[in-house]
Amino acid sequence: MAWVAKPSATEQIERRDEPYLTQEMCDQLSRDILPRYETKMGALLPTLHMVQHAHGWIAAQALEEIADFLDLAPAEVLDSASFYEEYWLKPKGKHLIAVCRSIACEICSHAEVTEACRKRLNIGVGETTEDGKFTLIELECIGACGGAPAALVDETLHENVTPQRIVELIDQARDHDAL
């Protein structure tokens, strides 16, 4: 829900010395992305994507750094960042398991897929495992309705997923990390 209230302005944010938005990122953005848009704010979504890609989530301090870089008020950055579901303003697990819950997937047994994930990971939808490895979510239609039920494991789409298959994929991701 994009319109839910935001954290209070008096909330203290955690800080660290090292910037989230590095000089290297700023240089790349200035060179490749900013010239594409008529306003600096136009580069906000690409910038948020870049920070999230590098850190897995977007910390409050990063929002301030982005505001600084794009000459925006931190509130403007928060306003946009909090609207979009794909931006994580709280840390998430290293791997994101997203099962589609929209109509084509629901009528093709998506619930069994989600259930298999819950059992394997021992967490509920919207939660992260204690070791910080996995976050499980359900998404609305991910554009793979012909291959329902569908799920995204990180950035890879899997179609016609069975409960067994999703467990395999989870295990593969875990094994891969252990290497």
């Binding site: 994009a2 594409r36 979009y84 609305e140």
Partner: protein
């Protein structure tokens, strides 16, 4: 009457093997060289030899209707831009390519971006030339990671071969106007918000803001992205342009169908995505006008498990459902008026078999709209929430008869454009829930407990006294 397709060759799927013409296992990403070897960028070259206004005129005469949902004629939309003569005056104008594809049931644009990205890019170039546009943004939904990469690679190739950037379209080819026309084209990734598919929300999102639809007018063709004249077209709409320019108006209008109710025609083929309880779901290219039954039985290899057809979402959940007696519905732009649904939408039907719980379907759909409402308009924000709660209650068996009336009242009251809400999302919610409830009323009624209305009345001797 048996249905025979009018078009017996693939157009949009020419390079993407698809039944009945090709074997899906042979699909692969079509790179620049293969694209050109198979007749790519011929349409663009031809367009450049024509005056921009004449290109627009061809598209207008072909009556190519938008493939993104609303079915608005593309050529006509282009003519709403400020006049070409006025445009040597300062100020850019923009094309925003709608690749946000997030309507549940819809996965057709993805096929083009998965395998034949240059077809879309050629369409973009033609549109930019015709409309004197110098910058195009492809707004692709955030979840399309692989597709974003394919398109990004195709863009690199297109720049490398001088289609975009540099000296001007097609390596600075002279155009009918005498000078080359230069276009920059960029990919812009969304971040998981269905509403950004609405054209003005898409523009807000491109500007870095939250995806809140704008109040219209002003319309984007006059004041769009960054306040400049802007055209918004769907991926598939643009992908039709190269073949139309290459082969002409008569070729295009020979495909598809005329209206049978005196409305505007539905010319051309359409990418149709089939999902739900069928044996062979997928995206197929069909003439507009194909009956749903033929689509399911011939392309989709029939109902899964030999079950009976119970209903179908017409083309993305916003359009509402076709009932059990509407299996013969023709999939063209007349469908809304003929079969009491919102419209053809994205022409991607989701099929339900006889065992489907339609109350659960309504609950699922209402949750989607509650989740995706941007929250600007009260009827949409509040109505979608209440509707989801009521339908959940009905599904769980805890609701009463009066809850049915209340749900129907809310569904009917929200949206009802123009006027009460800013964009069409609320209308989609309205149509989806209202058509399901009306077409499967018995199922809803069977789920609720009767409402007892206490009445006091005296009978017998007391009544006389």
């Amino acid at each position: 009457m048996a249905y025979t397709p009018k078009t017996n060759f693939p157009i949009l799927t020419k390079r993407i093997p698809t039944r009945p013409w090709g074997d899906e296992r042979q699909r692969h990403i079509v790179r620049y060289d293969e694209y050109v070897e198979t007749g790519g960028y011929v349409g663009l070259r031809k367009a450049l030899s024509m005056a921009p206004g004449d290109v627009t005129e061809v598209v207008k005469e072909a009556q190519l209707r938008g493939r993104g949902g609303a079915g608005f004629p593309a050529g006509l939309k282009w003519t709403f831009l400020p006049k070409i003569e006025d445009v040597n005056s300062p100020g850019p104008r923009y094309l925003a390519v709608n690749a946000d594809e997030s309507e549940p049931g819809t996965f057709k644009d993805r096929l083009l971006m998965d395998f034949d990205p240059h077809l879309m890019l050629e369409g973009i170039a033609i549109c930019c030339y015709a409309c004197r546009i110098d910058k195009a943004y492809i707004y692709i939904r955030g979840e399309y990671h692989h597709q974003a990469q394919v398109v990004e690679e195709a863009l690199l190739e297109a720049y490398h071969h001088g289609v975009f950037g540099g000296a001007g379209l097609m390596n600075g080819s002279d155009t009918a106007t005498g000078a080359p026309w230069k276009v920059e084209c960029y990919l812009h990734r969304g971040a998981g918000a269905y509403i950004c598919g609405e054209e003005t929300a898409l523009l807000e999102s491109l500007e870095g803001k939250r995806g809140w639809p704008r109040v219209k007018p002003p319309f984007p063709a006059v004041q769009g992205l960054f306040g400049k004249p802007t055209i918004i077209n769907n991926v598939e709409t643009l992908a039709h342009l190269p073949s139309i320019i290459e082969n002409g108006v008569e070729w295009f209008t020979a495909q598809g169908t005329e209206s049978t109710i005196g409305g505007p025609p539905s010319y051309g083929t359409k990418l149709m995505g089939l999902s739900g309880h069928v044996n062979r779901p997928g995206v197929y290219e069909c003439d507009l006008g194909i009956p749903l039954r033929t689509f399911v039985e011939e392309y989709g290899a029939g109902m899964r498990g030999g079950k009976k057809f119970k209903g179908a979402i017409a083309g993305g959940i916003s359009t509402g459902v076709l009932g059990p007696d509407q299996y013969e519905a023709e999939l063209d732009f007349d469908i809304g008026r003929k079969y009491n649904v919102l419209g053809l939408g994205t022409a991607c039907p989701t099929i339900f078999d006889e065992e489907t719980d339609m109350v659960a379907v309504a609950r699922n759909i209402s949750r989607f709209f509650k989740h995706e409402s941007c929250g600007q308009c009260t009827p949409c924000r509040e109505g979608s929430g209440w509707l989801f709660q009521l339908l959940s209650r009905i599904e769980s068996g805890e609701a009463r008869t009066k809850d049915l009336d209340l749900a129907l009242e809310i569904a009917t009251g929200m949206g009802a454009m123009p006027g009460t809400t800013i964009c069409g999302l609320a209308d989609g919610n309205n149509w989806a829930i209202r058509t399901i409830m009306n077409k499967y009323w018995g199922e809803f009624e069977a789920r609720v407990q009767p409402t007892f209305v206490p009445v006091t009345m005296s009978v017998g001797a007391a009544a006389n006294g």
